[in-house]
Symmetry: C2
């Protein structure tokens, strides 16, 4: 603004000069490659057709619940297009600020010298937050204690104006259950937004390891745990009831501690299962689709209004996450024209943790995260410092053949290369995403077979 | 992290080389000047003694309300020290990332060549958010419908575990009023955090004018307006009642529109009343202190539990803002060793708007903002494009005398220089802050004289 003292002109002049000298040969690079919409279309069909089949055909979802889900889906679709539109704009600004990376897995090829804009997760995060704020206009405003009633803007505005105590003063009270959901919704948004901010801070300031991994997500999780009004109990599997002497065990603060650790795990696990074009966003997309299918199945079979709401709540946050992530993936798919940054991995991880916790299906979420758990276990010796840990634990790239070879670093990426042999980066990403999808499918099978026995 | 592809080493190597060549003469500059704690002590005494006199001596505040206020004050004090500790660390990272500015008002002197780290508002914002998340442990957890009951951590943890419907399943419900406050508290945090994120995004990406000023704050305000469960009425001044025929007029959505515009105004007004070392933070500190005094006066004289809560709510957010801002001011006071960035001005402006709206004293807030309103009116011809608007509307600095001369640009800063003659940057800042304090004092007088007549 006019009166700001920041010498933006000075501070950007130097990077610009640098750009002029270094990036002249790639001056048309400032307009990044177009989005790979074909890949996204195929992936969306594969992931979303089952979901919408369940929503529209397989289950009879109450109209009161179906309407906000579809409004949310429409908003998410808009979010997808906005994300696609905004990413090239943000990319240019990112490069101008020296926020770029070079693709290590393409070193030695012309692609390896390109400055790829970093931290494009900011676009996804911003669009997601705006969608989430907007969505309130269509929800959470009725007085009902039984279910959400979708409302249009006009009514949302007027419903605040009815005055009970004094003829013209006062305010309409929400129903108690409604209010509980509002508390959780805003707490979720505050938590997710704080993690988004901290992720971006990490991308810009390159924060030290410890604060990045452990301290920062802990703070963001605080709001979430305080808002959590759900149970702290676990159901004892039927065969074990005679031995334990209880059907349900209240774990109290131990359950809260478990949720706390879960949030920290989810936030970091996407961040460390990375390093291949499209993998960070791809795994989020696959997990999100699985969550949506799980949610709609639970809504479809349950009779309990509150239980249905918990899963609807999850849908309201996961649909925008999935849609905006697909927008980002269209640029981040192999060969990546943008990188997602810690901004994205932290934001996506925390959002998934939040919906798992507030939707009360954290155990299911952990099975969806099986590849991440495996990757974490493989990484443990290096992360704990038992085995020396290099800065990048990436496979070795051979610029002659364009293939990757697995190293001995303990990551799932390297394990796959050691198991299945050398392959291209794109194939490896597809293998890993298929594995993610298999883990999700396995979770559904497990739930199906154990349901009768377990509960 | 190990598997991240971002070529941090590459991307930071160039700026570092640049630093080596450019900043060698000022290599000890990486450790910024120590905080000016003497100034802060004097300012704190002047602003906070009246406040704590009212809290401890003048009014008899209920113990149930006094305790959380004091817990919050203790947390805020801790936040002050943490901010002071973190700013030098963040400054180094800021410089490394080329986030710096040069002080235009010192051009031509050795001070004018120093690279001053930018966007240190991120520290204030982060510490504020963590304090706000922490504070929930001590509040908002009781079942009472009448007032807040401060609780310690242990009880907060256990109070979630009591199960009503099934012997061991279920959850404890909050009281309805309590819940309403929780909704507003989290909505406030989500709004403030989103604005903080967008401010930092602006500092890093240098967003275009329109999105910065109007679009971004609008989105952040959405959450706030949706959560606002307060009245939408105005009290008709007594002498006008016979003419209007109503004691209270319900403005409905017009009132919501007013709050929306207020939030956008507050967010931008601190940003454009700037350009002098210490002014952005200084005005926030003065306004915050005035708000605290207003809040405690209202709590002291009122008998209405809900009204008291609204003002206590405001205190819970303003105390941490004031404390962390004082920490920042100790480095930002003349001569500034750090700049605050849009991160800070947007964050502080939005926080003040949020407490004014949710505390239901937005009219009083507007009088506290009188200098900002005046500055906005003076700026209007240039902001609207009626008169050409340069990038910086700063006074002219004379390196020989070290004094500033007012230009014809329409800002309060220039108006003061034209009125009171040439003066040093430090004196000008003190003049402007005293004017801010006078405006706040005038507001108290106005309230005192009009109270009987107006309501």
């Amino acid at each position: 603004m006019a009166a700001r003292k920041r010498a933006s002109a000075d501070s950007t002049r130097e990077p610009k000069l640098q750009e002029d000298t270094q990036r002249k040969p790639t001056s048309d690079e400032s307009s990044i490659a177009p989005p790979k919409l074909g890949v996204i279309l195929k992936l969306s069909l594969f992931l979303l057709v089952p979901y919408f089949y369940l929503v529209f055909h397989h289950y009879k979802i109450d109209k009161e619940l179906k309407k906000p889900i579809l409004i949310n889906a429409a908003l998410s679709l808009a979010g997808y297009f906005i994300t696609i539109k905004l990413i090239p704009v943000a990319s240019r600004r990112s490069l101008r600020r020296n926020l770029f990376g070079k693709d290590i897995n393409k070193k030695g090829t012309p692609h390896g010298d390109v400055q790829v804009p970093e931290s494009l997760g900011v676009v996804v995060g911003t669009v997601f937050m705006v969608l989430a704020f907007f969505f309130q206009y269509f929800n959470f405003t009725a007085d009902s204690n039984e279910y959400f009633v979708p409302l249009n803007c006009a009514f949302t505005f007027t419903c605040f104006m009815v005055p009970p105590p004094h003829p013209m003063v006062g305010k309409r009270r929400f129903g108690n259950l409604q209010m509980e959901w509002l508390v959780e919704y805003y707490a979720a948004l505050a938590t997710i937004c704080f993690m988004l901010f901290l992720g971006f801070l990490d991308d810009v300031f390159d924060l030290p390891w410890r604060s990045r991994k452990l301290i920062l997500p802990s703070f963001a999780t605080l709001a979430l745990l305080m808002a959590y009004a759900g149970h702290t109990t676990i159901v004892i599997p039927k065969p074990l009831i005679p031995y334990v002497g209880l059907e349900i065990l209240d774990l109290g603060w131990i359950y809260k501690l478990y949720m706390f650790l879960l949030a920290i795990f989810c936030t970091n696990s996407i961040n460390i299962h990375a390093g291949i074009n499209g993998l960070e966003v791809g795994q989020t997309v696959v997990i999100s689709a699985a969550i949506l299918i799980h949610n709609i199945m639970q809504i479809g079979v349950s009779k309990d209004a509150e239980y249905k709401q918990a899963h609807a709540f999850s849908i309201y946050l996961v649909q925008p996450l999935l849609a905006t992530s697909l927008g980002l993936l269209s640029y981040n798919w192999y060969p990546s024209s943008v990188f997602v940054g810690d901004t994205y991995t932290y934001f996506a991880g925390m959002t998934l943790a939040v919906v798992g916790i507030l939707g009360h299906y954290s155990e299911t979420l952990l099975i969806f995260f099986a590849p991440q758990v495996l990757n974490f276990l493989l990484s443990l010796p290096q992360l704990s410092g038992y085995i020396p840990c290099p800065r990048h634990r990436l496979p070795r790239f051979d610029p002659q053949t364009g293939l990757l070879t697995g190293t001995n670093d303990g990551t799932l990426v390297n394990l796959f290369l050691r198991w299945f042999g050398r392959m291209s980066e794109k194939s490896l990403c597809i293998y890993l995403l298929v594995f993610q999808a298999i883990a999700c499918g396995f979770c559904f099978l497990l739930r199906y077979f154990l349901a009768g026995w377990y509960k």
